[in-house]
């Protein structure tokens, strides 16, 4: 067996308790180990992606129990690229959190960070539905701690909502898994797919209930309308570097939809026919529309970015719900783009909030306004899907994949109008925050703050150099994703091809010894 597969889970699982127990009072050492851990994770992720790129599906049997009796981890192209994305996202964020001093505003930031990474990587790698639930819980428990990191009344209240909502989601997840187990007698995803296909037609009612419940759970995670309302308050109230990390959490929901529904519950199975297409697609369209309106109406930059996250999930889920090979390839490219772009915008929003508060209204100019506004500009172009950045390529691919779909007109209209509204909303926020502030300097009405700060104040971060390095690294990720769109697309095309031949996956998991 190839032991690299379990490494993305084991490394943070060992590092996080080590940070809590040994380095509890040494913030500097925690930072060193935490960054080293993320760099090592990145190395592991690159290794396993290189291994998966060949097209082999590798199976890791935990405790050497053969599937379907034991829990397996499965490494295919999709899980490898998602683990790589997690590591790529985590590195700038951990650097940003260190440089901006966020990790010092509460306890155990780094330990929780690594537990979160463990949960996310585990969810991407596991080949067992109940194990997926367990990794969801791992990442959620860590996210509860991270979300309330730093404390404060508003954040804690938003935290209660967030935890309550996710506990409800977990309960629903258990109901779904229980129903599936009652019908099929297995929880291994590959085995589930086999049993679902073989199920007699009379028994499918309960299976459909289970599949709908499962879809609901993943939609809660992916913040699909009408189950999205936990997201704006939670993300806007969380520490924004943490919200940037949470950009991957909504993608865990999207990943689970792709994984479960390409494997077992696709349109080829009568019991679950139409679930992804007929149900998810309208919901995704409305999600995109509401997200765009939310961007336009937001009064606070963090809320605005949270709605950006919702719009990008809308576009992503439209692509997933088309359920064809080209659309899935486009969706996978869009996953990379939207995660990095949303995270970049959250970091920029944090830079803005640390300097002048988050209100989208003219105030006194802030230090490094030019630098931050150019970063905001990059993030806004990427999120709105304007050329030349990867958002444009991503949206173009989604539109192209939707061309032959039955609802192509509706999809094109919603995506294009949604992008337009997003551009207007982001332009409004950008001009109010960055341009009007300069005008306001010459205006006596803006209050006494102006006279005190004739000279712009220095940056509030303890280490502004590293802060900007981290944010620029995130922006650089988007640029690279644009420059190397060709190879990236080649990879996602092959990934989609692999996903739409689930027989290979099933054979690899149930086939016996590897």
């Amino acid at each position: 067996m190839n032991h690299w597969i379990v490494a993305p889970i084991v490394l943070p699982a060992i590092l996080a308790p080590f940070i809590i127990m040994v380095l509890r009072y040494h913030l500097d050492l925690q930072r060193i180990f935490s960054v080293a851990g993320v760099v090592a994770l990145l190395g592991i992720a690159l290794t396993i992606t290189a291994q998966a790129a060949g097209g082999d599906i590798q199976v890791y049997e935990l405790g050497n129990w053969p599937a379907p009796f034991g829990i397996v981890l499965v490494l295919d192209r999709l899980s490898a690229m998602m683990v790589l994305l997690t590591a790529l996202l985590a590195l700038p964020i951990v650097l940003y959190a260190i440089a901006s001093g966020w990790d010092d505003r509460g306890k155990h930031f780094h330990a929780l960070f690594h537990f979160q990474l463990m949960g996310v990587c585990g969810a991407f790698l596991t080949g067992d539905a109940f194990n997926l639930f367990v990794f969801f819980e791992v990442l959620l428990i860590a996210s509860y701690g991270l979300m309330t990191h730093g404390g404060g009344a508003v954040r804690l209240k938003a935290g209660v909502q967030y935890v309550a909502y996710n506990l409800l989601g977990s309960t629903l997840f258990l109901f779904a898994l229980g129903t599936l187990y009652a019908v099929t007698g297995t929880l291994n995803m590959a085995d589930l797919a086999v049993r679902v296909a073989e199920l007699p037609a009379d028994d499918t009612a309960l299976l459909r209930v289970g599949a709908v419940l499962l879809l609901l759970v993943f939609c809660i995670k992916a913040a699909v309308l009408p189950l999205h309302f936990w997201l704006p308050a939670s993300y806007a109230s969380a520490p924004l570097p943490v919200a940037a990390l949470f950009a991957i959490m909504t993608k865990v929901g999207a990943y689970s939809i792709i994984r479960m529904y390409t494997l077992g519950f696709g349109p080829q199975v009568e019991a679950t026919q139409g679930l992804v297409g007929d149900w998810l697609q309208p919901a995704a369209l409305v999600t995109l529309a509401i997200g765009a309106i939310g961007i336009l109406g937001a009064q606070h930059i963090a809320r605005m970015v949270a709605f950006c996250a919702i719009t990008s999930m809308g576009t992503l889920l439209i692509a997933i719900s088309l359920f064809t090979e080209t659309a899935t390839a486009a969706a996978l490219y869009y996953v990379y783009h939207s995660t990095l772009a949303t995270a970049l915008m959250f970091l920029v929003a944090d830079l803005v909030m640390e300097r002048r508060g988050g209100a989208i209204a003219p105030t006194a100019p802030m230090p490094q306004s030019g630098l931050i506004s150019s970063l905001f500009f990059v993030g806004a172009i990427a999120l709105a899907g304007m050329p030349p950045l990867s958002g444009f390529i991503g949206k173009l691919l989604v539109l192209d994949a939707a061309r032959d779909a039955p609802d192509a007109n509706a999809i094109w209209a919603v995506i294009l109008i949604g992008s337009f509204v997003t551009i207007v909303g982001l332009a409004r926020a950008g001009s109010l925050i960055f341009w009007k502030s300069h005008d306001a300097q010459h205006n006596t009405e803006t209050g006494p703050k102006n006279e005190e700060e004739a000279q712009p104040a220095p940056a509030p971060e303890p280490n502004p150099g590293l802060v900007f390095t981290a944010v620029f690294a995130m922006a650089m990720g988007l640029v690279l994703l644009t420059l190397f769109a060709g190879p990236a697309l080649e990879y996602t095309n092959k990934t989609a091809e692999q996903l739409f031949t689930p027989e290979n996956y099933i054979a690899a998991v149930l086939g016996g010894d590897t």
Partner: protein, 119 residues
């Protein structure tokens, strides 16, 4: 037996859903724990109900047995839900103590506030 288990799950779920729709955190947390109890009983039933049967196969003679997997699932689910309930109680308590208000909803004032400022 089936009717008893089914109605136990149903009543607990109904009560749990009623409670999580309340406006204060305490009933909501109670509702969440009731829901987790309901799902635990439900998970037990997913392996079919069997009375007085061991959870292991007998290798010498053909005796009835009960499915051991749901029991393992329930154990995991209990541990997780118990821990989660403890976490939400702690977060709700500190939210209550810091804002002197245990409403679960955020007032308009809360959301306009810049959340980063009070850290």
């Amino acid at each position: 037996m089936e009717a008893l288990v089914a109605s136990a799950v149903g009543v607990m779920t109904a009560a749990g859903i009623f409670l999580i729709l309340r406006r204060r955190t305490f009933p909501v947390i109670l509702g969440l724990s009731l829901l987790t109890y309901a799902v635990n009983v439900f998970l037990f039933a997913t392996g079919r109900l069997a009375l007085d049967a061991p959870a292991v196969l007998n290798k010498y003679k053909d005796v009835p047995y009960t499915d051991p997997l749901p029991q393992a699932l329930v154990l995991t689910a209990i541990v997780i839900s118990f821990g989660m309930t403890a976490v939400i109680v702690m977060i709700a308590l500190s939210a209550y103590l810091s804002s002197k208000d245990d409403h679960i909803d955020m007032s308009a004032h809360d959301s306009v506030d810049a959340p980063g400022e009070d850290a």
